[in-house]
C-alpha cells in the first residue's frame, strides 16, 4: 500500500502526524468537509486521517452527525434529495466526489453494515451471492467458495452450513447481522463502514461481532460508529469524538479515553453527558 500522505502538502502531513502517534499508511483522507441536508448544516469542517487496516471508532452523542459522516465515505448520502458536500474526501489518494468516479464501483470498494440487520428477502446463500452476482460472477463453484469463505469469515458458517437455502429472515438478529457482514465481505471491499452494528443485538452477539472485527482488521480498514464507549475502547485503535456536527477531537483510542485534550471530550468519555 502506497503512503499517500507523503505526496500531500506539508500541512496535511502535519494533520496526519497530529492524529496518529505511530506511522501507518493512510486509507481515507478527509479534508475540510462540510455537509448539508438542504439548509441544515450537518457536518462542519471535518478533517480526519483514517489509517489503513485499523479500526477507527467514531463516538459522540446521538444526532451529532456520526452516521452522516460515515455515509459520506461511500456516498450513501447521494441517495437523499437536496444534500450537498464541500471539501475533499480521498480514498488511496483518489477524490471520491470527483465527477469521473463511478459510485457503483466506489461502493464495491467501501462496504457498509447497517445499524439494523437488513438481509434481503432471499435465502442465506443468495444474500451472500447477491453482490458477486451483480458484479458479474455466475460460476457456481466460485460462488460456493465465496459463500463458505465469507460465512467462515463472519463466524456464521458452523451455524448455517446445513441450511444455506433457508430464508435469511429465519435467522436470529445477531446471526442476521453477521450475515450482513458476510454479504459485505463477499464483494471484497477495502473499507468496511459499520454504523452502530451492535446496537440492536444482545451482549453475546455483540461480543462475537467485536471478536470478528479484531480478525477483520488484518485485511480491512474498518470505520465503526458506536455510542457504546466501552466498545470503542475495546475494538478501535483510533477514536474520533463528534459533537454537534464538529469533530472535536481525533487521536489514538488510549489517549482519547485516558487523557483527552478537549474539555468536551473529557466530559463525554467520563459520562457527564450523552
Amino acid at each position: 500500500m502506497m503512503d499517500v500522505t507523503t505526496q500531500k502538502p506539508s500541512s496535511l502531513q502535519d494533520l496526519a502526524r497530529s492524529q496518529t502517534s505511530t506511522p501507518t499508511a493512510t486509507k481515507i483522507l478527509v479534508e475540510n468537509v462540510d455537509f448539508y441536508y438542504s439548509a441544515f448544516h450537518a457536518l462542519k469542517t471535518i478533517n480526519i486521517v483514517i489509517p489503513d487496516r485499523q479500526v477507527t471508532a467514531l463516538i459522540g452523542p446521538s444526532g451529532c452527525g456520526k452516521s452522516t459522516f460515515l455515509r459520506t465515505l461511500n456516498r450513501m448520502n447521494d441517495l437523499i434529495d437536496g444534500t450537498k458536500l464541500t471539501g475533499k474526501i480521498s480514498l488511496d489518494g483518489e477524490d471520491l466526489y470527483d465527477k469521473r468516479v463511478d459510485v457503483v464501483d466506489l461502493r464495491k470498494r467501501v462496504g457498509m453494515v447497517f445499524q439494523k440487520p437488513n438481509p434481503f428477502p432471499m435465502s442465506i446463500y443468495d444474500n451472500i451471492a447477491y453482490g458477486p452476482r451483480i458484479h458479474g460472477l455466475t460460476n457456481r463453484k466460485k460462488l460456493n467458495e465465496i459463500v463458505e469463505r465469507t460465512l467462515r469469515g463472519s463466524a456464521l458458517w458452523e451455524e448455517v452450513k446445513d441450511k444455506l437455502k433457508a430464508s435469511a429472515f429465519a435467522l436470529s438478529g445477531g446471526q442476521q447481522q453477521r450475515l450482513c457482514i458476510a454479504r459485505t465481505l463477499a464483494v471484497e471491499p477495502e473499507v468496511i463502514l459499520m454504523d452502530e452494528p451492535c446496537s440492536a443485538l444482545d451482549p453475546n452477539s455483540t461480543f462475537r461481532i467485536e471478536q470478528l472485527m479484531e480478525d477483520l482488521k488484518k485485511d480491512y480498514t474498518i470505520v465503526i460508529v458506536t455510542h457504546n464507549m466501552q466498545q470503542a475502547a475495546r475494538v478501535s485503535q483510533r477514536t474520533g469524538f463528534f459533537l454537534r456536527g464538529e469533530m472535536k477531537e481525533f487521536g489514538d483510542t488510549d489517549q482519547i479515553f485516558t487523557s483527552p485534550k478537549q474539555k468536551d471530550t473529557e466530559d463525554y468519555v467520563s459520562g457527564k453527558f450523552g
Binding site: 461511500n74 450513501m76 441517495l79 434529495d81 457503483v104 464501483d105 466506489l106 461502493r107 464495491k108 462496504g111 457498509m112 447497517f114 439494523k116 437488513n118 438481509p119 434481503f120 428477502p121 432471499m122 447477491y130 453482490g131 451483480i134 458484479h135 433457508a166 430464508s167 435469511a168 429472515f169 429465519a170 450482513c180 454479504r183 459485505t184 464483494v187
Partner: protein
Amino acid sequence: MADRAPSVPSTSAPLLAATAPPPRVSKSTSAPSRIPPASSLARFGDKIYGAVTFLASLSIFIIILWLLYQLTGASLPAIHKFGWSFITKSDWNEETNSFHALPFIFGTLYSSLIALVLSVPISIGAAIFLSELAPRWIRTPATFLIELLAAIPSVVYGLWGIFILIPFLKLYVFQPVIQPHVPIYHRHLVHSVIRVGHSHLPFSYNHFDTTHIPLAQVKGIGFLFTGQSAGYSMLAAGMILAIMVTPFITAVTRDILRAIPRSQREGSYALGATQWETIKQVVIPYAKSGIIGAVILGLGRALGETMAVTMVIGNQSPSTPSGVSLSLFDSGYTMSSVLANKFNEAIPGLNLAALVEIALVLFGVTVFVNIVARLLVFYTAKDVHGGK
C-alpha cells in the same frame, strides 16, 4: 365489497403487537393520579362495544349465507334440469327451454385474462416509476390522477368505449388485420364512423396495403385474429377492463413499494448495485406477495364488472360450434353482461332459474378467486419472509 390491500404480513404484525397494551392500563399503573381505576360502568361499556362490533361482523357473514341460500333456492329448477352440463355446454335457447352457460363463464374469464395481460405490466411499471424513479414534481400529480381514474364510474368508460375505442379498433385494427388488401384510404370513405382526428392518425395511405397475408392465417397466433368483427369484441372488453383495473393495481402496488423499508434499498446500493438491480432483485422480491395480492384484487374487479363490458363486448356468442372462441376479434358475453341483458325479458320458470344460476356461478368464481389470492399471498409471503 372493496377489499383492503394485503400488506406484507411481517411488517404489519409488529405494528399490531406494539399497539397491543390498552392505554388505560399503562396510565393507571405508571402514573399515580387522582383518576379512579376503570369503573364497572366503563367495563360495561366495553362489553356493549364488543357485542356491537361482533354483531356487525356476524351480520356480514349472515348476509353472505342468506344470499347464497336465496341464489341456490331460486336456481334449483335449472340445477336439477341441467346438472353439470349447465357449465360445460353452450346452447342457450328460450324457445326450446335449453340453457347452458359455458360461453358466458368463458367470456368472463377470458375478458378478465386479456385485461390482466394488458394491465399488469403497465401497472407494475407505472408503480415502479412513481415509487422509485419519478421526481417529486411528477410523483404527486400523477399519483393524484391515478387515484382519480380509479373513481370514474364504469358507465363513463363504457361510453368512451362505444364512441372512441370501438370505431378505432374497427377501422384501424380489425379491418386492416382481417382484410389487409383493402387500402386504409378506401375505408375512410366507406366507413366514416369517427369524424374525430382523421387527419392526424399515424397511418400512411398504403400502410396496410403492403401486407397481403391476413394475420388469421399465421401459424401459432392466427386463432387470435379470426372472425369478422364490427368492433364489439373480447378485445374491446379486455381493453376497457384493463383501463379500469390499471389505476387500481397501480395505486395498490405503489403503496406496497413505498412501504418497503429504506434499509433494504440501501443494503443493495451499499454492495455496489445499480438502481435497476436494486429494483429488480430486492424491491420487487420484497413486494412480491403484495403485488400478487394487488393483481388478484384487480382480477376480482374485472370478473365482476358489468356496465362497461356489456357496452362493448357485443353480447353475442361467437358463431363457432362450441360457442366459445379464443379470437380477440369475436364478440362474446360475460356472466354479468348476460344478466344485465336478459334479466328484464326473462320468462319466469326455467329461464329465470338459469339466469339466477349464472349469478350463483359468478358468485362462486369470485369467491374462489379471492380464496386463491389469499392463499397465494400467504404462501409467497411465507416463502419470502421465512415463515415468521
